[in-house]
Symmetry: C2
């Protein structure tokens, strides 16, 4: 079974010889060859530099043996050219956070193929590079709630006070902003699929800050709308909710084909709750990649065993790869995944 078939079948709940494997944020600072590229260009430049973005996207394939490639980009990229005044310092920062109806109305009509055409060029180039290897290409986008969190806070945040004040005091402003973001995200993901992405992942990194009731009001309907409008016939949709153990049922009901689990979710319980409706992805604690190789193998075997009754399972971390992760730990992770196939007669 080739890696593309394995990943697509696992996402759709069809039988596979063993779970496919890749890592969130697999192209990043833990790789020396990535750090060398970053000495030449800033993070934002790298996202729009087609040659270099293709290069860093492919780096983990060679170095750590992952079996899928994810577009190198940032969740903020589709917002560029939409009238948002963002700088990377190093995280995304807005001089003027978006908190009023007037600011929401001033946002340009979403047109990602016009405003960030290089993203789709990177996708096309990657698909060409990967065709002969039969390695699948994954596209992605930040989810509306997470993008709204950045836009309203003006950057990262601990307590998300500005966002929650808007939620509680001026909900119609936040609803307007989310509606604009849904349109943007749907166009952005569909354009990636058209350019060659074979799977697309929606990252709702911050949606886990909400209580279960507030999540069902503010986030679930947005995910459902995206799942309904993205061309899932051409590319399965994966949904990741950061720190989302308490909203797992809602994630399962989102309409996504795969739910990507934070490491703080009990995998066996997620299998039970999924009731065969979705495949699951994850969910090793990224910090565990600094453990001895034997321990990483044991944890991968335990994950695969826990997830075996699921409709499908994609081996992955429960969060993005950390910058100081040892390369040999990542290698051990993908080796352990391949070892699951030994003796399976595949």
């Amino acid at each position: 079974m080739d890696p593309t078939e394995r990943l697509l079948r696992a996402c759709r709940g069809e039988p596979v010889d063993r779970p496919p494997v890749w890592l969130m944020r697999q192209a990043g600072r833990y790789l020396p060859e990535y750090r060398r590229v970053r000495e030449e260009v800033s993070f934002l430049e790298l996202c729009s530099d087609v040659e270099r973005a293709v290069e860093v996207s492919l780096q983990p394939l060679r170095r750590v043996g992952t079996e899928a490639v994810i577009l190198f980009s940032d969740i903020f990229v589709p917002l560029l050219g939409a009238g948002v005044d963002v700088e990377f310092t190093p995280g995304p920062t807005l001089a003027r956070p978006i908190r009023t109806r007037g600011q929401v109305e001033a946002l340009r009509a979403p047109d990602p193929t016009g405003s960030v055409p290089y993203v789709f060029e990177i996708v096309r180039r990657l698909r060409e590079e990967l065709a002969d290897l039969r390695i699948p290409l994954i596209g992605f986008s930040g989810a509306p709630f997470t993008l709204a969190a950045y836009l309203v806070e003006g950057g990262g945040s601990r307590d998300f006070r500005a966002l929650k004040r808007l939620m509680f005091d001026e909900p119609e402003v936040l609803r307007g902003l989310q509606a604009w973001l849904v349109e943007l995200v749907v166009k952005y993901l569909n354009a990636q699929i058209e350019a060659g992405a074979q799977v697309v992942q929606l990252f709702d990194t911050w949606a886990g800050i909400l209580s279960p009731d507030d999540y069902r009001e503010w986030v679930l309907p947005v995910h459902r709308e995206i799942a309904a409008k993205v061309d899932r016939n051409s590319a399965p949709l994966v949904l990741y909710v950061g720190n989302g153990a308490h909203v797992l049922d809602a994630a399962i009901e989102s309409g996504a084909d795969v739910v990507s689990l934070d490491w703080r979710v009990d995998l066996a319980e997620a299998v039970r709750r999924s009731e065969g409706r979705v495949s699951l992805q994850g969910n090793l604690d990224p910090a565990a990649l600094s453990a001895p190789r034997d321990e990483i193998f044991a944890r991968v075997r335990a994950m695969a065993a826990a997830a075996a009754p699921a409709r499908g399972h994609v081996l992955n971390l429960g969060h993005g790869c950390l910058p100081d992760t040892p390369v040999e730990g990542v290698r051990a992770f993908t080796d352990a995944a391949r070892a699951l196939g030994d003796g399976a007669g595949a």
Copy 2:
């Protein structure tokens, strides 16, 4: 029913006229009279200044009508005088984080009554002040895992890499540190009870960073040991695990009398899982205190209704009160709790 009887009965699962109410971090920066005291002394000075600590502990009673008082202090206080070199900048920071067996062995034998006697003097004074009002006094401690996280990281952290490296690579060092902390915490809580605390709360603010399996290995046995050694006949034990939706079952099995829920836990589900074994505390999103008064009332009613089938319920937030919380929001919260008693014939 007086406030002391109401709180103690709710903690022990005995019938009450309505849920008692207090707020985590109810004495703090959101109160103008607290900010005035803090203009005169540093945070750490305030923790050891008996007169002022008593004063700020009592402030929320008068201003926002909470029905319990919690000792004003910091989870780092019992570590002072134990050979730990900590500064507040403004969070606790260690010049030399504890990461070796030698450093663990160099820690002094825990002796909180000798090293931080003012804590127990504050407790004694508060109990005297509150006796006539029949307002209960709550003591507290940080839990070993959370204190270990600070000691190993040398301060706050986002990914807790140093702590997790120790967990994965030198577990015996972390076990030694936790064993020392268990001894300290048990002595510290029992000395507070002896000085007059009527309820004690254990704050495991950071334990939610662990996967469910790692939590069961590293945290649950520690909680069980503390629950077995603290004088719970004299003062019920409340356990708070920050961001702990994924370890709720383990928190329920901790031996604590009350589990205090993060706002990201579904309260109705927690009631079901508790199966009458523990009482529950919580769990409004602290950010919701900036909502309109009507909305706060509606949320308090919804919480009380969801928790009604529980063994007992203490109305509280799902995290500490935020510094920019409007005073009128806190007042609305306690008013809403009292309004639950109207018409109940109590």
